[in-house]
Amino acid sequence: MTADGWYEPGSSPVHRVPAGWKFAALLALAAAVFALRSPVWLGGICAAVVLAYGVARVSLRRCAGVARSLGVLAAFVFAVQWWLLGADQALVVCLRVVTALAAANLFTITTRIDDVVAAVEHGLGPLRRFGVRPDRIGLLVGLTLQAVAALSAIAAEVREAARARGAQRSVTAFAVPFLVRTLRHADELGEALAARGEGDR
């Protein structure tokens, strides 16, 4: 399983910003990035995000991992946009995507999920009187992030099993066991949550 984008404990200033503020900043940054059109400004923000990785003292190994996956994505986006809209537009779109994703990644690396969940619960507290259940939404956020890890682990195992049987090119050799295992995982997870008292209130 890849641990791409999981929390890395630390005590840097970026780690210490309360999760709620960090989340708000991330949303603001994403909004700004998609509103701006100037490559200079976008480049500046992108550089600031890169700098923030330094401030957060993210390990080089993690940085390399993020750079690799964003690099591939950026190359792909750039190629498509260039073909469709020309080089200038392609650069802008590319900077937007890379900046937003790099910032989101930094957020997950420096913020404990538990804190995000608590911040979401806290932030949504006022909506309680309209029947919104903040604790449920918080759990949903946690489980969604968790599901990504679980599904990629299942996919990796199924792919290995298919390869072991020389069926790495067969779609069904992947899709069928992947679906079955995903559904079974969902079933088991549901039972485990029920056993831990979720849904009892």
């Binding site: 641990a3 538990d114 604790d135 968790q146 088991e188 056993a195 209130r201």
Partner: protein, 224 residues
């Protein structure tokens, strides 16, 4: 005290349990039997994950069919596959998740979670990504997450099936030391040495119910 009164269960037409009469008050109870004999179905009834289609179950006088919430507060459950019991990304958060309704502050929950992890041999793993723990450690984590709720009864459905010999032993030793009443479903018969009572199931019926020695003799005779 866990009571099964004339309990039966069917999935559609298929009868998987019939006429189960048990009163379990011993500290260490095991369910053994062949694959498909109904052990998991019976164990799941203790915390209301499965409800009997006839008869009834009582846990300290409470019926899981009606008072599911109170029963689940009393009964912890450890499943076979640790991967699907972990709901939060790090070990500490996963245990803290169990404490979310304890009235403790977030900081206190995190501290308590770290204490519990340390108590069961996972000291220093609070910030560790839960899915990168070894199989044995994951199962310990699942146990910690349950014990954080301080249940009176702990039901374990083949908790050691996916573990190697060393982790199996370790898990069994930890169970021995618990103050909880333990009901364990297992195929690892050598884990049952310290048990007070072994219930043998076959085709959905209780065919033996005794101390480990005689009960396991009966079970072995059944398969040969």
């Amino acid at each position: 005290m866990i009571e099964f009164e004339g309990v039966g269960h069917r999935y559609g037409e298929r009868v998987v349990l019939s006429d189960v009469e048990l009163r379990l008050a011993e500290r260490r109870v095991a369910f053994v039997g062949a694959n498909g004999s109904g052990k998991s179905t019976l164990a799941r009834m203790i915390n209301g994950l499965v409800l009997p289609t006839s008869g009834r179950v009582l846990v300290d006088g409470l019926d899981p069919a009606r008072q599911g919430r109170e029963v689940r507060r009393r009964v912890g459950f450890v499943f076979t596959n640790p991967d699907s019991q972990i709901v939060m990304p790090t070990a500490g958060e996963d245990v803290a998740f169990s404490l979310r309704r304890s009235g403790l502050s977030r900081r206190e929950r995190a501290e308590r979670a770290a204490e519990i992890l340390a108590e069961y041999g996972l000291a220093g793993y609070a910030d560790h990504p839960a899915h990168q723990l070894s199989g044995g450690q994951k199962q310990l984590l699942a146990l910690c997450a349950m014990l954080a709720l301080d249940p009176a009864v702990l039901v374990c459905d083949e908790p050691t099936t996916l573990l190697d010999l060393r982790n199996k032993r370790r898990f069994a030793e930890l169970l021995t030391g618990l103050k909880q009443q333990v009901v364990m479903v297992t195929h690892d018969l050598d884990l049952l040495d310290g048990f007070d009572r072994v219930v043998v199931l076959d085709g959905g019926r209780v065919v033996a119910d005794d101390e480990p020695g005689p009960a396991l003799r009966h079970y072995r005779a059944l398969v040969t």
